[in-house]
């Protein structure tokens, strides 16, 4: 049995939000999307630390725009991507959660 993988709630939110982004997968667009999903302004510090953590676990990676943008002070822009390992973790987490929810329809309905 593979060792259990812990996926925090916010990490899960971030991974799902990245998957939902279609064209522009930059951090700024991700933050806007997360703000909508969470219904509140997500803290930038928390977001960037989470991205660092997800990258350390190799669940996300990114490509960098070659274009040199003056409005970014010449700094690169990342386009995020969920790695196959990240997808596998998400899949497992979804399975676990759905399993947990199963059979609770009556309680939830109450």
């Amino acid at each position: 049995m593979p060792s259990p993988v812990f996926l925090g709630e916010f990490e899960q939110l971030v991974l799902i939000a990245i998957l939902r982004l279609k064209h522009d997968r930059s951090v700024l667009t991700l933050k806007r999307s997360l703000d909508e999903i969470a219904g509140r302004a997500v803290s930038r510090g928390a977001l960037y630390r989470t991205l660092d953590r997800l990258a350390d676990k190799q669940w996300i990676d990114w490509s960098v725009d070659d274009e040199r943008r003056p409005e970014r002070g010449g700094h690169p822009r990342r386009q995020l991507r969920v790695t196959p390992a990240g997808l596998a973790v998400l899949r497992a987490s979804r399975r676990t959660l759905l399993g947990l929810w199963r059979g609770l329809e009556k309680e939830l309905g109450r």
Partner: protein, 844 residues
């Protein structure tokens, strides 16, 4: 784009330092900058950026610190916990030190951007060549003379520069025009002055040819402010006076143009032909570099003899060439004095803050005696205890340094604006950051040393018994208070002297009727017969102006007061004057007489000396009737016929410019002085009359009271600045004194209780503490006065004639400090004296 359109630079640098130096870190900074630009302009988005910076610092800093190492981090964590335990003590220390570092850094940044950069750029082999002619001397050279001399000079490398106000716009963004100084220069000018480049290239001889490509080199500061420091500007076009110039380079940051007109860019002199025709012929200034081992006198002789050999040119012949250092000796001396003065003030402010914090720390270690004793008895080495204290000091001073840097980033623009410095480069550079690090480091040593040594000497048993600090500690505290009092008395005295100097300045005799004289300058159209037309214009203009209602009289001179910028006040200058000039400006004749109309018409070999010339060259002799050759060989054969009062020439200066007046030969640069009862009303009338007389000329009429009033701006700002620093120092030292007295009273509560129980009255106890508290203040006061007298001597140039031993200023400073000290000591002492001895003795 101004510096306020981009995100705060300091915050960007902090983020860059905090985040890991990876692509992720850099792109995070990029995200924040991009989001900054998407937000509506204004202060709120700057505040937002700072808030995000602090949030990121909170997230990333602990991890970065952990990576630094074990023991240090443990000490640091403990130090942070201490902050939580006694926040008031630490915050007081932090605020005191942070404010001091902030004020010092702001002062240093401004000084660095102006005087320090100018002093470092000062090169004694750089000179300016003036042409002396019949009516005096001028820095502007007719093009034909300039070209001929430059081509022939071999001993001195000569280059030309013509600073000119031009309308400039980056061609890519039309509509954003500004009027800035563009210096039109010869091909070798920038390389001779070692102007870099920082990027791209400089203007070369190939650019300065008729038909050469129109190119421009940007000033580093202008590039940062107007192009946001974008290196992509190279190769782009910039419009100067409506014509496109290609930007080919950026000058190095520390380059100071010797014209001191702060040019925004440099363009080839030859490219002037592309711009619309000027009202007057362009006359460049001549800047040169002396060959190895050559003195200024050698250069003057060589250039004058070379000039005599040149074929005659169209313009009226110059008689000699005068060579001056690019930076006048008086300015270099004044710069050094300002620098010394500011560094003394910075040192004093830092010393005061360190003394303050040391005292607080001493109080802290005294109350932490038990903790130290327990640590030592549990096996901690003295070294370990010292390291802990050192870490606390370093943490405190680093935080104070960061706070100071933040404060300085707000204070510096205010300070520069307050001093009305025309466009200095006050963005922090490496020197400023080095200063902050040094100031914080010195503070760390200054604040940590005494408490550390004290703790190391601390006797174990007394610590365990919780005994209060002994006599030694009290003596150290007194020494710190004395040092603080001395430093603040110096600052308060210097401020009082500045205020007195301002008052003194207002009473100084300007030497002419400031409120009744109009100065008139005239620009003639650039035509081949311009000089002849100017010569014909002036007599007619005088007649016309004299006949106007409200005009008492009018006279002509090469320059009227405030009509010229001489630069070096110590040099003897020649001024041409006609028969009625002295009466027109209201200049007193002290001996002899002034010129007659016949003498002026004939160009007689006579001269009128100013009081300064008479005193300097003739001493007790009567100069009237004497030969003027004694002043300078250029006046050989000229007889002095009178002495007139000194006047202000271009600015208020303790030494009035020595002037020799000679009969005027009117030309295109002549100026007119008009005496009237109502300058405001007459100014317009005079301008209209001259324009009606010759529609092609452009007269400028100024009531001389205006430039005179502007002379007070700088001294007023110096006084205001000195007063604010002194106030800050006073608050700092009073706060320190109050804190220490409160501490002393707390540690001596038992003693107070016993005294009261034995029958001492409230007055006795108050008297005891006031005596104890004020003793070090008085000692400091004495020391401070001695130091202030010494420092006052160094700033004599800014005192405009007020003695550094001015009794009024010294009394004012002493009474201010003593009353402040008394207030600081009385409050805690009175509280202590009201204590109930029974309660005190019971509580221990």
């Amino acid at each position: 784009m101004s510096r306020w359109t981009g995100p705060p630079r300091l915050a960007c640098r902090l983020i860059a330092a905090i985040l890991p130096p990876t692509i992720a870190g850099r792109s995070t900074l990029g995200d924040l900058i991009e989001e900054f630009h998407q937000r509506p302009r204004g202060v709120r988005r700057r505040l937002w950026f700072w808030a995000v910076t602090i949030e990121l610092a909170g997230r990333y800093l602990p991890g970065r610190l952990r990576a630094l190492g074990g023991g240090f981090v443990r000490d640091l964590v403990y130090a942070v916990r201490l902050v939580r335990r006694s926040p008031a003590l630490i915050l007081g220390a932090l605020l005191s030190l942070g404010l001091a570092i902030g004020v010092s850094t702001a002062a240093f940044t401004v000084v660095n951007g102006t005087w320090l950069r100018a002093t470092l750029a000062d090169d004694p082999s750089l000179v300016r060549a003036w042409r002396r002619h019949a009516n005096g001397a001028s820095s502007a050279w007719p093009l034909d003379e300039f070209s001929a001399l430059r081509a022939q000079a071999t001993h001195v490398r000569l280059e030309g520069v013509l600073p000119s106000a031009e309308t400039v716009a980056p061609t890519a963004t039309p509509g954003t025009t500004a009027t800035v100084t563009v210096a039109f220069v010869t091909g070798g000018y920038l390389s001779m002055l070692d102007a870099g480049p920082y990027a791209g290239r400089l203007i070369g001889p190939d650019d300065d040819r008729p038909g050469g490509a129109p190119v421009a080199v940007l000033d580093h500061l202008y590039w940062r402010r107007s192009f946001d420091g974008d290196r992509g500007v190279l190769g782009r076009a910039v419009s100067i006076g409506g014509r496109d110039f290609t930007i080919v380079g950026i000058a190095r940051r520390d380059f100071v143009d010797p014209t001191r007109r702060l040019p925004a860019m440099w363009a080839p002199l030859a490219s002037l032909e592309r711009l619309p025709a000027r009202a007057t012929e362009p006359r460049p200034w001549m800047v040169g570099r002396l060959g190895a081992g050559m003195t200024i006198a050698d250069a003057e002789t060589a250039l004058t003899s070379l000039f005599d050999m040149l074929p005659r040119t169209a313009s009226p012949r110059a008689t000699a060439i005068e060579v001056f250092p690019v930076v006048p000796a008086a300015e270099t001396a004044a710069n050094r004095q300002v620098l010394t003065g500011v560094f003394v003030v910075i040192t004093l402010v830092l010393v005061m803050a360190c003394a303050n914090v040391s005292n607080l720390q001493l109080a802290g270690t005294a109350s932490r005696g038990l903790e130290m004793a327990v640590r030592v008895s549990c096996g901690a080495s003295r070294r370990r205890v010292l390291r802990q204290l050192a870490t606390e000091s370093v943490l405190l001073c680093s935080l104070a340094g960061a706070l100071g840097l933040l404060l300085a980033s707000w204070l510096t623009p205010l300070l520069a604006a307050g001093l009305n410095l025309s466009g200095p480069d006050v963005d922090p550079d490496a020197r400023v950051y080095l200063f902050v690090v040094a100031a914080s480091g010195i503070s760390a040593i200054g604040t940590g040393l005494w408490p550390g040594l004290h703790a190391a000497r601390h006797e174990l048993p007394s610590g365990l018994k919780g005994a209060a600090a002994g006599r030694g500690a009290r003596r150290t505290r007194s020494a710190f208070i004395a040092a603080q009092a001395a430093a603040s008395v110096v600052l308060v005295t210097l401020a009082a002297l500045q205020v007195r100097a301002l008052a003194h300045l207002a009473w100084q005799d300007p030497g002419f009727d400031v409120d009744r004289v109009l100065g008139v300058t005239v620009a003639f159209p650039r035509t081949p017969d311009a000089e002849a037309r100017a010569a014909a214009f002036w007599p007619a203009a005088l007649d016309r102006v004299r006949s106007l209602p409200g005009v008492e009289t009018a006279g002509l001179a090469s320059f009227t007061p405030f009509g010229i910028n001489l630069g070096d006040a110590g040099q003897v200058f020649t001024n041409g004057a006609d028969a009625s000039y002295f009466a027109a400006v209201g200049q007193r004749v002290l001996r002899g007489r002034t010129f007659s109309a016949a003498e002026v018409a004939a160009g007689a070999r006579v001269a009128v000396a100013s009081e300064q010339v008479a005193r300097r060259f003739f001493g007790d002799d009567d100069p009237v009737g004497a030969a003027a050759g004694r002043i300078d060989r250029t006046y050989a054969g000229v007889t002095i016929v009178g002495v007139v009062a000194d006047t202000i020439v271009d600015r208020i200066h303790p030494v009035r410019t020595p002037l020799v007046y000679v009969p005027l030969e009117a030309d295109g640069h002549t100026q007119m002085a008009v005496r009237t009862n109502d300058p405001a009303a007459t100014a317009g009338v005079v301008g209209d009359a001259l324009h009606a007389l010759a529609p092609e000329v452009r007269p400028t009429v100024t009531a001389l009271a205006e430039p005179y009033a502007r002379q007070f701006d700088r001294p007023r700002r110096y006084a205001a600045l000195a007063a604010s620093v002194a106030l800050f120092a006073l608050v700092l030292s009073v706060a320190g004194l109050a804190g220490i007295t409160a501490f002393a009273v707390r540690t001596r509560r038992r003693e107070i209780g016993i005294r009261m129980a034995l029958g001492a009255r409230t007055g006795d106890v108050t008297g005891l503490f006031v005596r104890d508290g004020l003793r070090p203040v008085i000692v400091g006061l004495m020391l401070g006065f001695g130091a202030a007298l010494l420092a006052g001597r160094y700033m004599a140039i800014q005192l405009f004639g007020v003695s550094a031993r001015d009794p009024l200023a010294l009394t004012l400073a002493a009474s201010l400090l003593i009353s402040a000290a008394l207030a600081a000591v009385l409050a805690p002492t009175r509280r202590a004296a009201r204590l109930d001895p029974a309660i005190v003795l019971r509580d221990g």
